[in-house]
Symmetry: none
Subunit: 194 residues, 4 copies
């Protein structure tokens, strides 16, 4: 086995382990040692590559964000109409990779981190404004700005709310039902907006 070029492999392994550990625990109250052990390395190595715990956590959050945005882009590529683009965004947000237990739990934990850490908040803002502008862009092609703005806000809130409810098992349905709920919201709003 080659002993060179391990850095990207280890970084990725540590980030994956961080998601799994945080997801399992349901909070950021995890130790670097736990994450490192799950990644099959020593905690010292985690520090070697990430500097400190916070940076590892932030890198993990960024990874999740990147994956989500990639999924969004992938789905968007298949859409052909403005309304179809909105559905694509929803499919990406509730896709199997984004909507599995550990990932949702990790996202929720990051929401809390975003309250204390400026870095984390900035990342959350990137996610939120990207989602918002994606929705807005498509909605504006269907209805007027005032309606589009309101619908985008409502849909974004509903999406995050569904994440929470799923994480806490307060939402009885699965991903497709979550999507249906938001789709229905948008359809109904657009119907009424005319």
């Amino acid at each position: 086995m080659p002993k060179i070029g391990m850095e990207p492999i280890r970084r990725r392994a540590l980030i994956d382990a961080a998601i799994a550990t945080i997801g399992e625990r349901g909070s950021l109250d995890v130790t670097v040692s736990q994450i490192a052990r799950r990644a099959g390395v020593s905690s010292a190595l985690a520090h070697h590559y990430f500097g400190n715990k916070e940076r590892l956590i932030i890198a993990t959050m960024r990874h999740l964000l990147t994956e989500l945005l990639t999924a969004v882009r992938r789905e968007l590529a298949t859409a052909e109409t403005p309304r179809g683009r909105i559905s694509a965004i929803l499919r990406a947000n509730f896709g199997t990779e984004q909507f599995d237990r550990a990932t949702i739990a990790a996202w929720l934990a990051f929401y809390v981190l975003a309250q204390e850490s400026p870095d984390a908040r900035m990342l959350w803002r990137v996610y939120a404004s990207r989602l918002s502008s994606n929705l807005l862009h498509s909605l504006k092609q269907i209805t007027d700005t005032a309606h589009a703005t309101r619908i985008a806000s409502g849909a974004a809130a509903m999406i995050d709310g569904l994440y929470i409810h799923t994480a806490l098992e307060g939402f009885p349905g699965d991903a497709s039902e979550a999507i249906a709920l938001v789709e229905n919201y948008i359809d109904t709003q657009l119907d009424v907006a005319g």
Copy 2:
């Protein structure tokens, strides 16, 4: 003269201090000492009254929940129609006491706690199902069960989503705009449902 009957006073002071401390920090990463100091007592006293940190946190969460439910009951008492009862619930959820910075931040932190602590999850379930059944009960008097169920789920998700967005300053509006968004959702849904 011996101070008698201090217990309820101290308990309340500690719970208030816990909300303030958690709200300020934005997470449950607060020490018992910080809370106690804010309450003007020693950390040993906090343990004397609550046994351990977790029970103090749970008591704080329960307090917040009780206050919310009390506010809901108070608002409901002023409502006269099923639709009016729904508006009353929203007014309570976004009322000044529930929707201030520290309280929202604390709620968000508790959401995360609910992922790890069975006690906390149970409390969250109480809140979620109470909210849900309140909404459902009124909605069923206006539309059929299928529509009512969906609208209740959507509204509940939207409410929690708005809490998150407000906590992270991703929602640009204030309480009244948050209310308007949910009211509009419900109105539109009911319109279409017929």
Copy 3:
């Protein structure tokens, strides 16, 4: 045994233990745990009372300095002539309390600390300028300013040099011989200065 008012007792015990531990080791490479163990308490208590390791070390240095200055003052009180005051200062600097193995070793370690820590350097400056001004004051009553200044500098350097040589066992004599060397320096200088 009383359980109140322990703070000054513990602080003193920790400082004494720090001197002994540092003196024995010959450097500041000692752990808080070692010091605490010697003082008969947990390392957590050391942090409780001093905040962190550096502050404990600085407090120890300050203690040594205070003791030295107290000894100087005590000896000065017995002196009656300017020349006698100089001898008093030397007696204090080479007195049994200041000139024992552990204390000398600790002083030497502090000299090094003074190179990196501004707090430590400030303390060293206090010691150095106090010694210097004490010597200078008496010398000026015996000879002119130019000579007095030079002699004070030379004597101060010789004193510190003798500390080092004693710490490293490069000086063959004991305290009285060290004193004699400096006394002789001063006498000779004054003789020549006229």
Copy 4:
């Protein structure tokens, strides 16, 4: 083409880097990595050439000592009288290479190391006895053994004391003033000794 004969170059580079790093920090609290980075190599190479950290430090100390003794020898070669030889020794000790900031700081750090490390103490002893015997040898040609011994001890102490005071910026003058102080001590002592 394989790099051949790199060993002496690397050793020297590491030792120079060690002096600079220790001098800058003012203590031996430097990491092997810092030294290696400054030398432009990996820390593993430092271990490859020196075995462990202590040996690198000792080698650095020995280097400093060798340079000092070389300087002494160089200066001594220019002296023609016993008194001139003493001046030559002083010139060497306070020469620009020995008396620069980093070197002095490193020396002071080594003094402390000499308290814990037998190897370091042995090196210091070599320096101290060489200095002492050099001085003594010349002094004995000028005055009787008793006086010569005392003057040698006093001068040696004064020299080290001046190093400390310079390191800690407690000595206001520069090298030439330091030399003058010791020269004056010796002259005066010899005058009186007759």
